[in-house]
């Protein structure tokens, strides 16, 4: 499978990364090199092999259903590029 410029632009759009024409052009051979190389995994016979889900056997824990944190609104907002009236502010999304 190899990627072309249109595919690179589609991936960038999905990843929400703006790229220029030039960058898209440059990324085509770069990504193809890497993807071509990882495709050697296709030679491995993995029939009857389960995909890895946890490297070390571990069980999910339950805890009491109680509030353990909160009341830190100002801390949460402190690093926001734009915070107003106790909220994160973003450009207008509804016309």
């Amino acid at each position: 499978m190899s990627v072309d410029k249109a595919t690179v632009e589609k991936i960038a759009a999905l990843a929400r990364i703006a790229i220029s024409e030039d960058e898209a052009q440059r990324l085509v051979p770069e990504l193809n090199n890497i993807i071509g190389w990882v495709e050697q995994l296709g030679e491995v016979d993995t029939s009857n092999v389960e995909p890895m889900t946890a490297v070390i056997p571990n069980t999910l824990r339950l805890r009491e259903d109680v509030v353990t944190d909160g009341n830190v609104r100002d801390d949460v907002l402190a690093n926001a590029p734009q915070a107003e009236h106790g909220f994160f502010a973003v450009p207008k999304v509804i016309e």
Binding site: I34, V38, V55, I56, P81, P91
Partner: protein, 493 residues
């Protein structure tokens, strides 16, 4: 008395306890070294006040006759990947520039609780993605090491924990935290002639460690010798309910358990690690390590890890896939930088913010990850890689029938020159010996083995069974005692 900055963690801890010198003198000595070493670019932020506060607390506790905490008054470096309350944690990326976490990571908090102080935040590859430190948004770290007769060509300190490795090798700090996703503690340790251990996945809490690839990311200890690594790791490790993958197991007394006698231990030599292209110097070092292990009483056995060659390609699907998901949080809304072109809407803001904030390697990996997870390709790439990962873990399980530890070189070469490796794929190959154990979540460490012809350090890697850090540390100690590695870079910075 030798210079305080020549002492390691154990010597500093013991000297402060006995009153041979004060914690304040110790902190001041390291702070002065950090301030003088700007040309190494190892520290992104210096926090002398933090180190001094911990030192003064240690001295006050001693004056009162209190029992000192395990690391009381020992100043350390903190990789920039760890969230530190009120102190910038940027993962060496522009997108998080000026981010001051309102909370402390579990690992760093445990170190402060143990009495350690912070000298500053250490430079690294951006979001821990890189093997040379060249992906840092704030300029690469320069290794304190130089080639003999090779002029002053700047060398890489390795990556991603390159600020940590350089700072320790240059005696700017006696120890530092590192994180290892595919070799980011072990390869920089090997490149700078220091020691570094990545424990079993889940030993150290990931809470507050800026995420790269969550199923692989693991914090660990970097220091000048094995004992110091054991001391630091003991303070860092431990169960944390805030990390769902944290191991609910007691932390062994690794320092007290150190024992360099390897009698009864079987050390496996994986034949697949011996590639045709292996440099003769690396091969000679490996043989030397085998002889040292034998001398320490170990039985040497050849073992096979048949899926070794597939570890790197599997890693470069799994790690980017997890990264593309983890790094989706950088959207210019909640923290970090925002790029808002005139008249841009929300979607344009996301795309512009991420284009401006992420470096090229980070973008490359996010895009690879997005591609392998996208509709129609998920099974062919991601599921297949996770199946191969199962086979790689099974290879190790089978090897443990025949041996207790594995011994390999840490990296395929000594440190290379900055700017020498420009092709992403060639850079990835640096991790060929470290990635398989990362994929299997196993504890592994690098210890210095000797110098190559250019006078640059080379490292030996020991891989152990899950939860068996003690055997890894013990084998490391046995090699360390026989290597007698005392070389250090001459101060030019």
């Amino acid at each position: 008395m030798s210079e305080l900055t020549d002492l390691g963690v154990k010597a500093l801890r013991d000297g402060i306890r006995s009153g041979e010198f004060s914690a304040r003198e110790t902190a001041d000595a390291f702070i002065a070294q950090v301030a003088k070493a700007k040309s190494l670019n190892a520290f992104l932020v210096e926090t002398p006040d933090h180190a001094i506060a911990a030192a003064d607390a240690a001295d006050a506790a001693r004056a009162k006759g209190d029992t000192l905490a395990p690391l009381a008054g020992v100043p350390i470096g903190m990789k920039d990947l760890f969230c530190t309350k009120g102190v910038q944690a940027a993962a060496a990326s522009h997108i998080l520039e000026d981010f001051k976490p309102p909370y402390e990571s579990t690992v760093s908090q445990r170190l402060w609780d143990a009495g350690a102080g912070m000298l500053g935040k250490l430079n690294m590859d951006q979001f821990a993605m890189g093997s040379s430190n060249e992906t840092s948004a704030f300029g690469n770290v320069v290794s304190p090491w130089r080639r003999e007769g090779g002029g002053n060509a700047p060398l890489t300190p390795g990556g991603s924990s390159g600020g940590s490795s350089a700072a320790i090798a240059a005696r700017l700090c006696p120890a530092a935290t590192g994180t290892d996703t595919g070799g980011s503690i072990r390869q920089p340790a090997a490149f700078t002639g220091i020691t570094g251990i990545k424990p079993t996945y889940g030993r150290c809490s990931r809470w507050g460690v800026i995420a790269f690839a969550s199923s692989l990311d693991q914090a660990g200890a970097m220091a000048r010798d094995v004992t110091d690594c054991a001391i630091l790791l003991e303070a860092m490790a431990g169960f944390d309910p805030k990390d769902a993958t944290s191991l609910d197991a007691p932390v062994p007394k690794w320092e007290a358990g150190l024992n360099a006698d390897l009698s009864g231990k079987r050390v496996g030599i994986p034949k697949e690690y011996r590639s045709d292209g292996m440099s003769p110097e690396i091969e000679a070092l490996w043989q030397q390590g085998i002889d040292w292990a034998k001398d320490a009483g170990a039985e040497i056995v050849e073992v096979s890890l048949p899926h070794t060659k597939y570890a790197l390609p599997a890693y470069y699907i799994i790690a980017p896939a997890e990264a593309s998901s983890n790094l989706a949080r950088y959207d210019g809304v909640r923290y970090g930088q925002r790029e808002l072109p005139d008249g841009a809407g929300l979607q344009d803001m996301y795309a512009a913010t991420r284009a401006a904030g992420f470096g090229d390697e980070v973008k490359r990996r996010i895009m690879i990850g997005t591609y392998v997870l996208s509709a129609g390709f998920y099974d062919a790439y991601y599921t297949q890689a996770q199946k191969v990962r199962t086979l790689i873990a099974r290879d190790f399980e089978n090897a443990w029938i025949e041996c207790d530890l594995l011994l390999t070189p840490t990296a395929p070469s000594a440190a290379f020159g900055l700017g020498e490796t420009t092709d992403p794929l060639s850079m990835y190959l640096n991790d060929v010996f470290t990635v398989p154990s990362s994929l299997a979540g196993l504890p592994a460490m690098s210890v210095p083995g000797g110098l190559d012809k250019q006078g640059l350090p080379l490292g030996l890697q020991i891989i152990g069974k899950a939860m068996d850090e003690q055997s890894v540390l013990n084998a490391g100690l046995a090699l360390e005692q026989r290597a007698g590695f005392t070389a250090r870079p001459e101060a030019w910075w």
